[in-house]
Amino acid sequence: MTNCEFIFKIRFLHGRSARSIMFPLGIYPYLVGGLIIGVGVAFVYVLTGLHATQSSFFSTTISYFSRIPYFQRKTYLESRDWRLFFAVGVILGAMIYAVTISPDGFWTTSVQWWRLLVGGFLVGFGTRLSSGCTSGHGISGLASLSTTSLYAVVTFIVVGVITANVMQLMGVAP
C-alpha cells in the first residue's frame, strides 16, 4: 500500500484527515509556539550576537560553586551571568503563560519522579558531552547550518524515539 493510498483510506474510510492523525492537537499551537521561541532567540542574537541556548546553563551555573578547572574555564565565567538571566527569564516566561492565557493554569505532570530523575541525569550528562541540546543543536545549530548539529539532532531524535517506544512496550505510561 503506497502512502497516498494509506492517506486516502484514512481520510475517506475513517472520516479523519491525515493532518488530524499526525497532529491530533492541531498545528497552530506548535507553529505559533515555535515562532515565539524563534523571536526570542532572534531578538537576543540581533541585539547581542549571543546564541540563547539552554544546556550550557547547567555547567556555567556550577562554575559559581565548583573550583574544578573544567568549570572555571574562561567561556563559562564570561557567559554564566547572562545564561542565568536567560534561564530565569525562561521560567518566568512560562509562568506568565500559565497565569494568563493557558487553559490549564498551573499544572503537574503525571510522568513518574524516577523517570524525571534518571532521565534528567542522562539529559544533563549527554547534552554537555555533546555540546548542545534541543535548543543549542536543534535551533541555533541547525539555523547556523552546522553539520555537527545536524548529526547530533538526528541522533538524539532517533534514540529518543526508540527509547520512548521501548518504555511504552514495557508498559510504562505515559
Binding site: F23, Y30, L31, G34, G38, V111, S131, T155
Partner: protein, 134 residues
C-alpha cells in the same frame, strides 16, 4: 545590571512563553512525539529554527554588528565522537522522561514542581560530565 543581561532576561521570557504555548512544558506532549503519536514537535522546532535562521543568516547582511556590540558569528561546534555519544545519552534521557533543558525550566514555571527532580538531576549530570569526563 547591564543591558546585555536585560536583553537575555527579556529573550528568556519570550522563549519560555513560546515553549509553554507550544506545549513543550508538558513532558507528556514531548513523549507523544517520541512515541510517534503527534508530530507537532517537529513543526515547533522547524518554526523556531526558521525564525532563528533569518536572524543568523539574513540580518547580518543588512546590519554590520549586533546593536549592543560584539559580533555576528554562527553557532558552530567541532564534530567528534562526543557529539554522537553525548547525543545518544541525551536521547535516552529525553525518551525516558520527555524533558530537555529548556522544556524542564519552562515546566517549572508552569507550576510543575516534580520537574525539580529532573532539573536537579541535570545539574548533577552536567557536574559528573565536567568532573570526570571534561
Amino acid at each position: 545590571m547591564n543591558s546585555r543581561n536585560v536583553v537575555l532576561f527579556v529573550g528568556g521570557l519570550v522563549f519560555g512563553f513560546g515553549l509553554a504555548y507550544g506545549g513543550m512544558s508538558k513532558p507528556e506532549i514531548v513523549l507523544s512525539f517520541l512515541q510517534l503519536r503527534d508530530y507537532g514537535l517537529l513543526l515547533l522546532m522547524g518554526a523556531a529554527m526558521a525564525t532563528t535562521f533569518v536572524a543568523i543568516n539574513i540580518v547580518p547582511r543588512f546590519v554590520e554588528k549586533p546593536v549592543l556590540g560584539g559580533e555576528f558569528k554562527p553557532r558552530t561546534r567541532t564534530f567528534n565522537r562526543n557529539t554522537i555519544v553525548g547525543a545518544v545519552i541525551f536521547g535516552v534521557g529525553w525518551g525516558m522522561s520527555g524533558q530537555c533543558p529548556g522544556s524542564a525550566l519552562a515546566s517549572l514555571g508552569t507550576g510543575n514542581l516534580p520537574v525539580l527532580f529532573g532539573i536537579a538531576a541535570m545539574f548533577v549530570g552536567a557536574y559528573v560530565m565536567g568532573r570526570f569526563f571534561g
